[in-house]
């Protein structure tokens, strides 16, 4: 196993098992998923810099290296703006962003393009005359963000802008969160200076594609851990004088869970191995495919885990419930199965590239 990719993931796994699982995770989740000390710790460890170019003091690994690492984030239910802190500085070479992330200060991604079917509910941002206007009603970690990456639409197509949340015209409102490992806010942009564009339509498509891929990997790891925990449970738990895992009905559910989690892991692996060299259009289709499958399968695996772990799985104390609620939160982020199946189908039928409808 000389593959450095696996080395990163193993190191992350090892660290998280040692320094995060258990009390630490409980504490971070109890705080709603945001813990600045923990975020700074990950920054110190260099985890955010994995795919940042060497010219900017990153490790310069290809983006695909992040996939197995995100699977570990999923397995260990790591809370915090991992997606934003890891992906944005790797894709957008903006000083402001890279400086912020280097200290563990979280960026937020103000992107109305998280969905095709809830566009009017999510909001939109428009760029005109160098000014940003609009509102996005659901932005992960917006209340904590020290830098905002805004995807705006204009008559010239979508573009990306890096904005200081303290800039005039920016308002961030706290929102309640149903995701145990993320906070949310509403971002209102009222005539905000847009500054230079940090990316064009191609950059937006790449950004969203990579978000889909990494979320899928996270869901894959999450599903994998639900299988692992369930196996431990059904081997230990006895009813009717024998381990429940010896009942054929339980075995078959466990086997189905394993097949689903393994299939998802294989899909992520295959997609990542092609992703770095793929064209932006191919990457978009691959990412939609993988995220659609992950969003479909991971909640099912969680539900089977809940079924096999019985009442105990439903207690807040048992972290399975947090895994499930996180899986459900990620399910619709950057496309739920129904939206993405339509995108993939359109692409396969030749209406490609899968169009970015938002903004």
């Amino acid at each position: 196993m000389a593959d450095p990719t696996d080395d990163y993931a193993s190191a992350v796994d090892e660290y998280l098992a040692r320094a995060y699982e258990g009390d630490r995770r409980r504490a971070v989740l109890a705080r709603g998923g945001w813990d600045p000390t923990f975020a700074a710790e990950l920054a110190d460890l260099g985890w955010y810099a994995l795919a940042v170019p060497e010219s900017r003091n990153g490790l310069g690994e290809p983006l695909s290296t992040l996939g197995p690492v995100f699977a570990q984030y999923g397995r260990h239910l790591v809370a915090g703006p991992l997606l934003e802190s890891t992906l944005l500085p790797a894709l957008l070479e903006t000083d402001l962003l890279i400086r912020a992330v280097g200290t563990g200060a979280p960026p937020a991604l103000v992107d109305p393009g998280i969905t095709d079917h809830w566009t009017s509910d999510v909001g939109s941002v428009t760029l005109a005359d160098g000014r940003l206007r609009g509102v996005v009603h659901a932005v992960r970690f917006a209340p904590q963000a020290e830098v905002l990456v805004v995807v705006a639409g204009s008559e010239h197509g979508p573009s990306i802008h890096v904005v200081d949340p303290r800039a005039p015209g920016v308002t961030v409102e706290d929102l309640a969160s149903a995701d145990p490992s993320a906070t949310f806010g509403r971002v209102v942009l009222d005539d905000v200076e847009a500054g230079e564009s940090a990316g064009d339509d191609v950059a937006v498509t790449r950004l969203r594609s990579w978000a889909r891929l990494l979320l899928a990997c996270e869901l894959g790891g999450l599903a994998q851990r639900c299988v692992e925990r369930t196996l431990v449970h059904v081997r230990e738990r006895e009813q009717f004088g024998r381990p429940v895992g010896s009942f054929q009905a339980v075995k078959h559910i466990a086997a189905t869970m394993h097949v689903r989690a393994a299939g998802l892991a294989d899909l992520c692996t295959a997609a990542l191995s092609d992703a770095d060299g793929a064209s932006v259009d191919d990457l978009a289709v691959t990412a939609a495919t993988v995220k659609a499958h992950a969003a479909h399968v991971a909640p099912l695996v969680c539900e089977d885990a809940l079924q096999l772990q019985g009442g105990m799985g439903f207690t807040a104390e048992n972290e399975l419930s947090a895994y499930y609620r996180h899986a459900l939160a990620l399910r619709g982020w950057y496309g739920d199965p129904t939206e993405l199946e339509l995108r993939v189908g359109a692409a396969v039928l030749g209406t490609r590239p899968a169009p970015e409808r938002q903004p």
Partner: protein, 383 residues
Amino acid sequence: MTAVLDDLDTYREEVRSRLAEMDVPDVPLELDARFAVLRRWQQVLFDAGWLGIAWSREAGGQGLTPMHQLVVVEELVRARAPQPIGLIGLDVVGPSIDLYGTAWQRRELLPRLLSGQDIWCQGFSEPDAGSDLASLQTRAVRAGDEFVVSGQKVWTSWAHEAQWCALLVRTDPEAAKHAGISYLLVDMASPGVTARPIEQMTGDREFCEVFFDEVRVPRRNLLGEENAGWSIAMHTLGTERAAATLRRRVECEVALEDAVAELRRHGADDDRTRAAIGRAHIALRVLGARTRRTVARLAAGAGASPEDSVDKLVLNDAEQTLFAQLADLLGPLRATPGVRPRGLRSERWVHDHLFSRAASIYGGSAQIQRNIIAERLLGLPRG
């Protein structure tokens, strides 16, 4: 039959119009406040003559039929009014005491149970006795005129607020597992009883763990014969399950009505919304059709039956389909209660969706129900 149904229609009209004039309480989220409100509400319902409807008059009830009771349950749901807090007492424990209790037990316990002065909880499940309930390990040892009880129960609703507990205990560890169980009526104020609420995934905290540490229970608190507790528990669970299915059915229908009203106000009428609501409606029509059969069985006085397991699975499916479809309509905004995608109150639908996942576990898991159906209804051979 027609006369009974006419009578029921009149009764329903009366319940509905009286209910319309009452102040239906809002139920606070905070646990102690909720309990207090619900308890006051039980007193209101008692005063209205809507508790113990099918109980004999001598036990303090109304002497009507289970169908009348069902009417009240349904009308409460339709009026968005809470159920009485003491459901366990009213639906499970009370009927058992009425049927198997001594004169003293009936006289002392039933009136206070009915009025809501005493809230009962049900100490059946244990950490190691879930699907295999009969393997329960909480011990009760005779010491003179008392039983001394030690052990742990779990999934006991409202135990930290209850005055009494209907407790299944093992009194003969040598007997076959169903044959060594007794049914004790335990005062929750007894020294050695500790109840601890367990927070659920939904955020609810009604369920408790209850610990019994050498709790002394007078012998007169034994319900029925010693070592005959299992059949008492099973007898009343049958009726309670049918009642719970019927109540839950109405709750599901009200939920769909509420969701549709939210969607209509918002003007959501795209194909995706239509498909989700169509699927939910169809699942509830199947449940509704099934419960017509259940009502007919209840009206004919049927007791526990393997058909209850079919009811349970149809209910599971309807409930999980309904709330999965509604949750699906929240899309990415499921994560942000407060933002109302398509006009839907996501905090409620997220809660109900999570709760629906437990439907295939509590009251006998889907796996247990399928075993029962296959063996007792379809006659397939035991493994």
